[in-house]
């Protein structure tokens, strides 16, 4: 138990202006989001985090095949297409994670026997892909007007071999990290909706990453709010 006391020291707080592109400590990369950019889907969004870019399209609530219909709520389907190659098992597993997150927030009971389809296309992958997919899916659902009980966001943390915590890692940082943890948090109380991790980490490190992700999600939700305000404000 004594070892855990040492772990919090390597996590350095932001001390002001950063020297390089992403200095030590935690920061999120440059964010950009564009909504309603596709003409056919009911809702669409393109979410960019640094160089990672994901395009999401949402159809729904729409007609559902009888084999897939659920009598008391909407059937949510997520399709994730990689940039190159055929979709494989990794995509299927990510689809499932995203679907579970969306099902937790979408008010499916308001649209029984319908289908809500979220189609995601990876436009470029430069680290924290799953988090970017989650954010794109959320913005696309908002753009489509699907009723939700909360917004959600995805945050990725990477723990390197020294135990340093890096938020929103790049591809290189993810490869060299000892553990990569992705969390989906909801906007109402920053509660955890989904978590998926890869690698080795201790109990304390998990809680620290989760706390850091909750702090980062503040920024993401603030970004959502600003972008929606810009779109819907009358001035």
């Amino acid at each position: 138990m004594a070892g855990e006391m040492q772990i919090d020291t390597p996590i350095r707080a932001e001390t002001g202006a950063e020297a390089g592109p992403r200095g030590p400590g935690c920061s999120l990369r440059h964010f950009a989001c564009e909504q309603n950019l596709l003409s056919r889907p009911d809702g669409s969004a393109s979410f960019l985090q640094g160089d990672t870019s994901v395009l999401a399209g949402v159809y729904g609530p729409a007609e559902v095949k009888v084999s897939k219909e659920i009598f008391n709520k909407a059937t949510l389907e997520v399709l994730l297409r990689p940039k190159t190659g055929l979709p494989g098992v990794a995509e299927k597993s990510r689809e499932r994670l995203i679907r579970n997150t969306c099902e937790a927030v979408v008010l499916g009971a308001l649209h029984p026997r319908t289908s809500i389809t979220v189609v995601l296309q990876v436009v470029s992958d430069a680290g924290s892909l799953l988090a970017c997919c989650l954010n794109a899916a959320c913005m696309a659902l908002v753009d489509a007007g699907v009723p939700m009980r909360a917004l959600f966001c995805g945050v990725t943390c990477a723990l390197d071999s020294d135990g340093n915590l890096v938020l929103d890692p790049t591809l290189k940082q993810e490869k060299e990290a000892r553990a990569v943890l992705t969390f989906a948090l909801d906007s109402v109380e920053r509660k955890l909706l989904m978590s998926t991790t890869k690698g080795l980490y201790s109990n304390a490190e998990l809680q620290q990453c989760l706390a850091a992700a909750q702090a980062a999600s503040q920024h993401v939700f603030h970004f959502y709010r600003e972008s929606l305000q810009r779109r819907y404000s009358k001035s």
């Binding site: 950009a32 056919r40 393109s46 297409r81 436009v123 470029s124 970004f223």
Partner: protein, 395 residues
């Protein structure tokens, strides 16, 4: 999802408008929609928008050994995917017709016209390198074939260049001409079963020549811009192509996150968390190599089968042929505890035999014959412990 059918009045409206040389979006007959080209951060990635139609293209490569009959050439693959994002009708598995047509068009246009130099794709044998070790060399392209589409209406009377989605739904047929800027036709594809006259096709090719020149110039300019920005170290990639003035777009610069208190927060949570409840795991008991048992299972809920059937036993040896068997899950019959003697163990597959339960030194009462196909044996212990054994796959 099913495609929404086009209503009759919409169809009539479109056709009537075309007869009067009017298009829904205000274009002239020979006008192209706006083309927008944007490149991504990694090489070979590009998004092209033609009006509202949007296509993402990516070039990727890997080192493989060349084909035997073409030892000095590289191999080119083309693949086109219609995502469901593009139209609700593009369900995976449902769009074969259009997909095949477009794939063929791509192949013929780019492969058969030999616009990409496949011999330049060949790497010297014995020299393997990764993309990190060597700078990527741009593909050597001989010429750039550009496709131009023409839609025909009223059996070829009316022609529209670059039809949009509504116009395509009411057209009779489509003619695609792929041409490069040297006015060489690379591919012609006509679909829809329209019968065109020679001079119509010639007229289309003339129009195509003009359009291709414009589009090629646009592509060259976009490529030069991108190269310039990359060389000068400016920002490039899709992030830059999001127009800042649009109300539906929003950007945020790097945001520092204050994680100074995560250490304390985490400690609090761990301190307040309850330790997980004790889970008692019983040690595994090894019956024989290949057969082990963890836990004891639950009490038999079928009732006492002991006194149901009795018969005289036919006992040969006094001792233990300890018999294990494959018990089907649905029968749910208990097997008593089998002693751990060193006797040979016989795994029996037989289901339908009548068998005799051997009882080493118990009273005859406890012995019975069953026809279910289960062999049981009571151990030397007084109270037989009942276990459930699951059918094991025997490798």
């Amino acid at each position: 999802m099913k495609e929404t059918p086009l209503s009759n009045c919409e169809r009539r409206f479109l056709l009537r408008a075309i007869e009067e040389k009017k298009r829904l979006d205000g274009r002239q007959t020979y006008d192209y929609r706006n083309i927008k080209i944007s490149f991504g951060t990694d090489y070979g990635c590009c998004i092209v928008e033609l009006g509202k139609t949007r296509v993402l293209g990516q070039v990727s490569c890997e080192l493989v050994s060349p084909k035997l009959n073409r030892a000095t050439e590289g191999i080119l693959f083309f693949n086109l995917e219609l995502s469901q994002m593009a139209a609700p009708a593009f369900e995976p598995g449902r769009q074969s017709d259009l997909l095949v047509k477009l794939n063929r068009l791509l192949e013929r246009c780019l492969r058969n016209s030999k616009c990409i130099d496949t011999e330049s794709l060949c790497v010297v044998a014995g020299e393997k390198y990764t993309p990190e070790e060597r700078d990527p060399v741009p593909l050597s392209i001989h010429h750039m074939p550009i496709c131009v589409s023409f839609a025909f209406f009223q059996q070829g009377t009316y022609l529209l260049v670059d039809p949009n989605e509504r116009e395509e739904r009411v057209m009779d047929g489509l003619l695609v001409i792929a041409m490069n800027k040297h006015r060489e036709i690379c591919t012609i594809q006509s679909s829809g079963g329209i019968m065109l006259l020679k001079d119509q096709v010639l007229r289309c090719s003339k129009i195509a020549g003009v359009k291709v020149a414009e589009i090629t110039e646009l592509i060259q300019k976009a490529l030069e811009n991108d190269q310039k920005v990359r060389k000068e170290g400016g920002k490039f990639g899709f992030a830059e192509s999001i127009a800042n003035q649009r109300i539906t777009a929003f950007k945020m610069e790097k945001a520092p996150v204050d994680t100074s208190d995560v250490g304390e927060k985490a400690e609090e949570i761990i301190a307040e968390a309850e330790p997980p409840s004790e889970v008692s795991v019983s040690n595994p008991v090894l019956w024989t190599p290949g057969t082990a048992q963890i836990g004891e299972g639950i009490e038999n809920s079928w009732g006492d089968l002991e006194d149901s059937e009795k018969e005289d036993e036919d006992e040969g040896g006094s001792d233990e042929a300890i018999i294990l068997d494959n018990v089907k899950m649905d029968t749910g019959v208990d097997i008593s505890n089998i002693g751990s003697q060193d006797a040979p163990i016989v795994l029996s597959d037989s289901e339908e035999e009548e068998m005799i339960i051997l009882e080493p030194d118990k009273s005859p009462k406890k012995i019975r014959t069953q026809t279910i196909g289960v062999k049981q044996e009571k151990a030397a212990s007084k109270k037989p412990m009942k276990k459930r054994k699951k059918k094991r796959a025997v490798n």
